[in-house]
């Protein structure tokens, strides 16, 4: 922009900043206030879970623990009561693992094949079903839940982990299929055509070419599904029997149970335990997590 260089000369290189400007100071101030709003609940959860009950009754909610105790964590894991039984959250944890692992594998497997078939094979009419899926993703679960209960009951799967796995697969399908379809569409078509000329079939191309190339998107899908299914409450409470309840349902039963004295330290330890898996995934996966959640915004 040579015309404007008289009115404003832009120096080269980074601007020398000797002090923080007033605007920047304001900016950081607001950001820090927000950061406190965001971090405070986590901080309160942690300090509460490390206090004994007498200290909670006497001190304030923000005070750091005077006497650190890990007993609430142990109790939350192995001995706190969920209404009927007193065996802690450990059972819910293993139930959640048993629910999450097969659901993640099955839903991603089916959705990746869907996406591959849609993007590369372009079967006549398949787009109609894909459109139904995408529009269906907006239908409130409430509308479909009861007929699904009937279907699963007829199949003899209602209340079982298999049934819940199928439910997670079905409800994860729209977003995951979209994710894989868009990814496979971006792979150069020549690659696919060359493989076909060489005589590779549907499964051959999928296993030998598409699967190895799609590893990044598989990672995104795994992050998306593990957090989503681990955090699920609704399907867990509707489609499983109490002995199979996932961790979220058990947690809610522990904390919101009406009987007995409320032990807030154990409640907070239990809450943190339940949040630990998704939090670990979040902090380990970094940018991939953002990609996963932004996947909902990917244009079709």
């Amino acid at each position: 922009m040579p015309d404007h260089s008289i009115s404003r000369v832009e120096p080269r290189g980074p601007r020398p900043q000797r002090f923080i400007s007033r605007d920047k100071l304001f900016l950081y101030g607001v950001l820090i206030v927000f950061a406190i709003y965001y971090l405070l609940p986590l901080y309160v959860m942690i300090v509460t879970s490390l206090k004994g009950m007498p200290e909670i009754r006497l001190g304030n909610i923000f005070a750091p623990p005077v006497e650190i105790t890990f007993q609430p964590w142990l109790d939350a894991w192995s001995s706190t009561c969920t209404g009927l039984t007193c065996e802690g959250l450990s059972r819910g944890f293993f139930n959640s693992v048993k629910i999450t692992v097969p659901s993640v594998i099955l839903s991603i497997l089916i959705a990746s094949i869907n996406g591959y078939a849609l993007a590369n094979w372009r079967i006549k009419g398949a787009d109609v079903f894909f459109t139904i899926l995408i529009v269906g993703a907006f239908i409130p679960y409430q509308v479909m839940i009861y007929p699904i209960v009937i279907l699963l009951r007829e199949l003899g799967l209602y209340g079982s982990l298999t049934g819940l796995t199928l439910v997670h697969t079905v409800f994860g399908m729209p977003i995951l299929t979209l994710l894989f379809r868009n990814y496979f569409s971006s792979i150069p078509e020549e690659l696919f055509k060359a493989a076909r000329v060489d005589g590779a079939g549907f499964w051959g191309i999928y296993l030998k070419i598409m699967l190895p190339m799609a590893l990044p998107i598989f990672t995104v899908a795994v992050i998306l599904q593990v957090t989503g299914i681990w955090n699920d409450f609704l399907f867990g409470v509707i489609f499983t029997r109490p002995e199979n309840y996932p961790m979220t349902v058990q947690l809610n039963n522990i904390v919101n149970s009406v009987q007995g004295v409320k032990e807030y330290n154990i409640n907070m330890a239990a809450t943190l335990l339940t949040g630990l898996v998704p939090l670990a995934i979040y902090f380990l996966s970094g940018k991939l997590f953002v990609r996963g959640i932004a996947a909902g915004a990917v244009k079709g």
């Binding site: 965001y38 094979w121 079967i123 079903f129 409130p140 907070m268 949040g275 079709g300």
Partner: protein, 297 residues
């Protein structure tokens, strides 16, 4: 095409068709079939079990005269309006602040987004604890010296939604911020240079130049937030249980209670059909914006 190649081509297509069976079944049986089934049975007097006896609009008439449903709708409207405005505004403001070439941007972003990784159950329980009148923020401020300070939203029918919204915003703004930040990063650096040359102030640039350019991001965020609003259930269960009284009841909870507790299936089907109608008003404008006019690739 040689005969062998043609046979292989047919075989490949057959496999592709076979592989699509789960998708086709899901689309037809679950998304289409189950939805139509529920709509159909909303016109019956099903109680404990589905019952095909046609009773016209009686379930709907009953629904719209039930106080609990009317309260649920009103709550959802208040919650929805506040969530939409606050998450769009705060999400954009946070994104704009992070886009000002600040230090520790990644740290701030990680802090604003982490609650999104947590479940609504965890979110609801933490905020229930923070807002606990006996031990939480209220007591903390009172101990600071303001003995009359009262902040007890979860036990006040007028304020309970404020408590729910505080928790929901904590959980959800990060996502909106991330979408907005991606949108801001997509805006050409030259636009900023041009406005600087023309001497337009920063906030005016955001308001009158950048905002209109981010229309698509806003539509996406709007759709995401709205579909989240209608689903509101877990958070209520964990944080308030619908109380005090009926003052934080929501439509999703109405449906589930009638399905699995009150054993009045017809009411639940009618209520869920009304939710579907509400969603349709969101999907149609979105579909027109997204797919209308331009051809899909």
């Amino acid at each position: 095409m040689s005969k062998v190649a043609f046979r292989r081509w047919r075989l490949g297509n057959a496999s592709a068709l076979a592989a699509s069976i789960p998708m086709v079944l899901t689309a037809l049986v679950v998304y289409l079939g189950c939805t139509l089934w529920t709509i159909g049975y909303s016109f019956t007097n099903s109680r404990l079990l589905p019952n095909a006896e046609w009773t016209g609009l009686s379930q709907y008439r009953r629904l719209w005269t039930t106080r609990r449903w009317l309260i649920s709708i009103e709550n959802l409207a208040i919650y929805g309006a506040m969530m939409l405005v606050l998450s769009l505004v705060l999400g954009f403001v946070l994104a704009a602040m992070l886009d000002r070439k600040i230090r520790f941007e990644n740290t701030f972003r990680a802090i604003f987004l982490y609650p999104y990784a947590l479940s609504f159950i965890v979110t609801g329980l933490v905020w229930q604890w923070l807002l606990n009148p006996e031990f939480g923020i209220q007591r903390f401020v009172r101990e600071l010296g303001l003995a009359d300070f009262s902040f007890d939203p979860l036990y006040s029918p007028q304020l309970v939604l404020i408590g729910v919204i505080a928790a929901a915003l904590w959980h959800g703004i990060g996502l909106v911020m991330c979408l907005m930040l991606a949108g801001l990063r997509g805006i050409d650096e030259d636009i900023w240079k041009a406005t600087r040359v023309d001497g337009i102030s920063t906030w005016k640039t955001y308001l009158f130049i950048i905002l209109p350019m981010m229309r698509n991001v806003f539509v996406t965020a709007l759709v995401l937030i709205t579909s989240g609003i209608i689903k509101l259930y877990d958070l209520i269960i964990a944080q308030t249980g619908g109380g005090p009284g009926l003052s934080s009841e929501v439509p999703a909870k109405y449906v589930f209670d009638y399905l699995f507790q009150s054993q009045n299936l017809g009411q639940a089907f009618a209520a869920s059909t009304m939710m579907l109608v509400a969603v349709t008003f969101v999907i149609i404008p979105w579909a027109i914006l997204e797919f209308g006019g331009k051809k899909r690739a």
